[in-house]
């Protein structure tokens, strides 16, 4: 039992690590309490805290890089958390390559989105509150990735869920926003329910919740226990990372302000599930394939399913939401084939380009008074070039066109699936690539290309400075983000190896063939979209194209009725049952017994009081009855001897 509380295992010296979490948290608390007085400066304050946290994260990152490879992991004990008897947990931070990569993504993208929000939320009456929530989210997310034990991770896990709830429902006046917020929290709670039980199983089997000890002892677990624990944890991940069957909250979550969608529902929070699975990869490995197969299949299925729905959606934010679900599916696919580092790689690049896409969509909405329907848009690249070109970078990145960031990571995932021998998953992945290219091109082409079209009464203008400041760096990263995993350099994969192990990669010509296929498919998707949306005669072609698949298109347009099915199958019977309990069982049943007893006694007394006739002779007769009874008894006793 090494790694007792307080002791720092052999490792590098962390630099002000608590500040990474503490700064945004302090910012949030200050803004929550004094937000009204701080007013306009709230945005600056929030950006400052997260920016400084980013700097602190960077310092630690540099310190880590400076350390020799075997000591690139360290824990820092802050104070005791819930500890009773044998169960001991602390607020401990774990700094290792994986957590610091996540810290860099969260603080980096987070800072950009904070800056973007200054412009985007400008003029909102609850401006300080928004930044308070955003800061609070950042601190919980950082807690999640830095947590040294599962319990603390869970604290962050639920904390980001809370912030997601608060931010989705930020415009709570809109009933749809309030409902979406609640839905997000509840669906997540269902996942968390499984996650919590998974935590119990792990503690029951291992006797500790520390990440290090769990991963160390995971190999010794029986396959059954490991599978149970892994699947329960994964069930938690399906909630947070919006996988089948718990993905339904994410499209609705687009009711929140767009920076929120970018930060929480694209770049960071939803990837927490991926991070968690990667973190506990030994547990998943220990199940002997079952758990990982489930992860991979669910991931691939989600990727395909969400992509199908994205193809028919008209709301630009919702398209991006489905695309996020789909991309998360890719990441789980990668996890499922054991390519953990590649999953994290895709997580990072996805954070870049999806953050960018959302921010771009936000800029479009900002320019068009909040309109999100792509049928009313067109040719916007000319009036808003910064947005247009950065969006284009994001589009090419997600479709997987070489050399944009998405190409490298997506290609690596597909390659890993192939090498693992999982050709079905590979096939699904490739087909999804086609769909991805198609729906993203459909989005991009309809909004930014072609003749200029704006909704009535709006006038498109380019993004203001603060928003542009965020868009440009993300655009650059979307173009060049793939460089962090370019073969030959200090690659991300290699960097993460001490934590999550090696990912399989194809050798020789196979690598190029696989990449080529992926690229060709992506380009085919783009061409398809172009041919039925942009090129001359698109309308007619589109009609011809859609007709054979009418049921499918129709189904996708209605989100395959999943919400309705959940409503009918789970929500409605649940509510009926609750009503039955409340009105029938509780009121008539249990309380009925109680009140019934009282009524029975009352009625009996009502009846019995008629004995009280008031006639003294009746009483006398009764009295005599008693006398005779007692007397007879005595006589009988005498007679009987």
């Amino acid at each position: 039992m090494m790694g007792v509380q307080g002791e720092v295992a052999a490792g590098f010296e962390p630099v002000l690590a608590p500040l990474i979490i503490g700064l945004p948290l302090a910012g949030a608390v200050v803004l929550l309490i004094f937000g009204k007085r701080i007013g306009r400066l709230s945005g600056v304050l929030a950006c400052g805290t997260i920016g400084l946290a980013a700097v602190a994260g960077l310092l630690n990152f540099i310190a880590l890089l400076g350390a020799p490879e075997e000591s690139r992991s360290t824990t820092q004990h802050l104070f005791d958390f819930i500890s009773v008897g044998r169960f001991q947990t602390g607020v401990d931070l774990l700094l290792d390559p994986l957590s610091l990569v996540m810290v860099m993504v969260v603080t980096g993208v987070g800072t950009l989105i904070h800056v973007y929000s200054i412009g985007y939320m400008h003029g909102d009456p609850r401006y300080p509150r928004f930044f308070a929530y955003l800061n609070l989210f950042a601190s919980f997310m950082l807690l999640l990735v830095l947590a040294d034990n599962l319990l603390l991770l869970y604290v962050g896990w639920e904390g980001v869920g809370l912030c997601s709830y608060l931010l989705i429902g930020f415009w709570f006046d809109r009933p749809s926003a309030a409902a979406a917020a609640k839905k997000a929290f509840l669906v997540n709670r269902i996942g968390d329910f499984a996650f919590l039980i998974g935590m119990f199983v792990l503690f029951g089997a291992i006797g500790s919740l520390t990440i290090g000890q769990i991963n160390e002892a995971a190999g010794a677990l029986s396959a059954g226990v490991a599978t149970t624990a892994a699947l329960l944890l994964f069930a938690g991940a399906t909630g947070k990372s919006a996988q089948i069957p718990l993905y339904v909250w994410l499209p609705d979550a687009m009711e929140g302000p767009t920076p929120v969608s970018a930060l929480i529902h694209a770049a960071t929070m939803v990837t927490a599930g991926v991070y968690m699975v990667a973190r506990f990869s030994p547990v998943f490995e220990a199940s002997g394939g079952t758990a990982l197969t489930v992860v991979g299949v669910i991931g691939a299925a989600t990727a395909l399913w969400a992509a199908l729905m994205a193809c028919t959606e008209y709301d630009i934010k919702r398209v991006l939401a489905y695309s996020t679900i789909s991309q998360l599916g890719y990441m789980f696919l990668a996890l499922g084939v054991g390519a953990y580092s590649i999953a994290v790689f895709h997580l990072v690049t996805h954070a870049f380009f999806k953050g960018l896409l959302f921010l771009g969509a936000g800029a479009v909405m900002h320019a068009l008074d909040g309109n999100t329907d792509m049928r009313h848009m067109g040719g916007l690249r000319r009036p808003m070039p910064i947005v247009g070109y950065t969006f284009m970078a994001g589009w090419l990145a997600i479709t997987g066109v070489i050399p944009f960031a998405g190409f490298w990571s997506k290609d690596a995932i597909l390659a890993a699936a192939w090498v693992e021998g999982n050709y079905v998953l590979w096939g699904v992945g490739v087909f999804t690539t086609l769909l991805t290219a198609f729906y993203m091109s459909r989005l991009y082409l309809r909004v930014f290309e072609g003749p200029l079209r704006t909704p009535e009464g709006t006038h498109a203008h380019d993004a203001p400075l603060t928003m542009a400041i965020a868009l440009v760096p993300l655009g650059v990263l979307s173009v060049a983000g793939g460089v962090i995993n370019l073969p030959g350099l200090l690659t991300l994969e290699h960097f993460l190896e001490p934590v999550v192990g090696e990912s399989l990669a194809p050798e020789g010509a196979l690598a190029f063939i696989l990449s080529g296929i992926a690229l060709v498919v992506a380009v085919a998707g783009i061409m398809l979209a172009r041919s039925i949306y942009m090129a001359s005669g698109a309308e007619a072609r589109r009609a011809r194209f859609v007709r054979p698949m009418a049921p499918l298109v129709n189904g996708a347009r209605h989100k395959f009725y999943v919400d309705e099915i959940y409503g009918r199958l789970i929500v409605l019977p649940g509510k009926r049952f609750a009503l039955f309990c409340a009105d029938v069982l509780d009121r008539r049943g249990i309380d009925g017994i109680v009140n019934g007893t009282a009524t029975l006694i009352g009625r009996t007394s009502q009846g019995l009081r008629h004995i009280q006739t008031g006639y003294v002779r009746n009483y006398a007769a009764t009295f005599l009855l008693g006398v005779v009874a007692v007397f007879s008894f005595l006589i009988l006793r005498v007679v009987a001897g």
Binding site: T613, Y615, R617, A621, L624
Partner: protein
């Protein structure tokens, strides 16, 4: 003079007592009911006297005095109550006095 066995006296007393009981239950005139109660007391007196004889001491006869006194006091108070009732309701029927009921 004393050949008759005491049991017969007791039997007589018992029969009179029972008649007194029946009368007290059956009659409705309050004064008549009182008379039957007196009859019961008399029967009891006879028993006391008989017991006095069986035991060969006068203690039983003493008790007759006490019964007598109680009977007198009871008769006096009871009759006074009846008097008041009759003044108010001009009836000595006990069935008329049945207010204290459900």
């Amino acid at each position: 003079m004393t050949e008759v066995a005491p049991g017969y006296y007791l039997a007589l007393a018992g029969l009179m007592f029972s008649i007194g009981v029946i009368g007290a239950l059956v009659r409705r005139n309050a004064i008549v009911i009182f008379m039957f109660i007196e009859l019961m007391l008399n029967a009891v007196n006879l028993m006391f006297v008989t017991f006095s004889r069986i035991r060969g001491s006068v203690d039983g006869q003493i008790l007759v005095f006490f019964v007598l006194v109680v009977a007198a006091a009871e008769a006096v108070v009871g009759l006074a109550i009846i008097l008041v009732i009759v003044r108010r309701r001009s009836s000595a029927n006990v069935d008329d006095v049945s207010l204290l009921r459900w």
